[in-house]
Amino acid sequence: MNATQAMFLSLLSPMVLAFILGVIATRVKSDLKFPEELYTALTIYLLVAIGLKGGYKLSISNLSDFWRPGLAAVALGVVIPIVSYYVLRQFGKFNVWNAAAIAAHYGSVSAVTFGEAIAFHDTLKEESLRAAIEAGAVAAGTAADAPAALAVYQAQGLNYEGFLPSLLTIMEVPAILVAIIISRLQASEDSLSSDEGGTMGDVMRELLAGKSTLLLIGFLIIGYVSGKRGWEQVAPWFDAPFRGVLTLFLLEAGLVTGRRLEDLKKVGPFLVGFGILMPVASALAGILAGKLTGMTMAGATVLAVLAASASYIAAPAACRVALPKASPTYYLTASLAITFPFNLIIGLPLYHFLAVKIYGL
């Protein structure tokens, strides 16, 4: 599959199209809106589904393959916010608080972008199997998880690791901590315990008990502990319908993004450029890190997507507590109205393309 095909495959998925429809709906001032509660329900569903499946996959995968990519994920989570902060301060002229808050968002990750990356790779697998069947390389009617099918994915580097959701979980928190520490050092005042924002302890608690981290880690463990037997009990609800639910969620994400588009003028061209170039740079780092630590091409691509994605659940909640002086207009607009659509529409096939080149597949 060449780059253009992958681009179209991604662009023409119902998920991405639903996102675009959501943006259009706000542009034509449609009265379509999702109740808050539905948004919350969809978020809970997605986080639980990602966590459970990740935990189950972890329970059947080889943990010794895990520690290198795990370290790479932590490293990305530390380096990306530092670089981001420096760029935003130096070239973007943002103040300490805003630079730190934006850096926290770009170092952390977006579970929905991750979900879409997984969905994209599942579609790639289906396509490669279909192509192999048409080419006569495997017998017609080969099941999607038959050994022959796995061999096809393997040959094309599509057989992504089972522990990827663990990387998502690992990368959620560190960047936010790093950004907060930087801001406190830079503000050169020991406000760690001042009223200006929560103490570092508050922030840690907020982060670890924050709903996205709690659900991801919690259900990762539940999935791991309850294993195959547990997974089979809940898979008809959390596995097969996943991409359909994601479609609804991305429709809502499009509505929110559309409303945010007006803020693009307020944040200025620098942040728009940052919101596009920083993810590409991070993605490159992610692919290289993946290759260095021995991941499959698909795994490296997903790591790239994680590196490139900007958080909009965990990080905003943390910044409201830890960096109350930072303006949500900057960090929310950047992560939601620039980087999220960019990754979804262009980034995903682009990073796949880069990974194909780098892996030489």
Binding site: E36, G197, V256, Y312, R320, V321, S327
Partner: protein
């Protein structure tokens, strides 16, 4: 029917503050409160969705001195750092025992 005068304090603030504010209110002497979710706009921009955060509207009927200490507490601890609006009104109520 005899009515008594009490103060009604209304606080509109970001919803993360709800547990802290209600604890403060009760500890300052209020015997109860009611809370609901509201959207809003103000100095801190729009707070109209789960992504941007929403607000809580807390109302409590209290004797005047309690009203004053609630307002003072809000002004001192919350207004400098958070999106908060507070106001006070006089209301007529029936059973004084319920609020003091």
């Amino acid at each position: 029917m005899q009515k008594f005068e009490m103060k009604l304090v209304v606080i509109i603030a970001e919803d993360e503050l709800e547990p802290r504010l209600t604890k403060e209110i009760l500890s300052l002497g209020a015997r109860g409160y009611s809370a609901s979710r509201v959207r809003g706009e103000g100095w801190h921009g729009a707070r109209k969705s789960e992504w941007e955060g929403e607000n809580v509207r807390i109302e409590t009927i209290v004797p005047e001195p309690v009203a004053d200490s609630i307002l003072a507490r809000v002004a001192e601890r919350y207004m400098p750092h958070f999106a908060v609006v507070a106001y006070v009104q006089t209301v007529g109520i029936l059973r004084v025992e319920k609020f003091v």
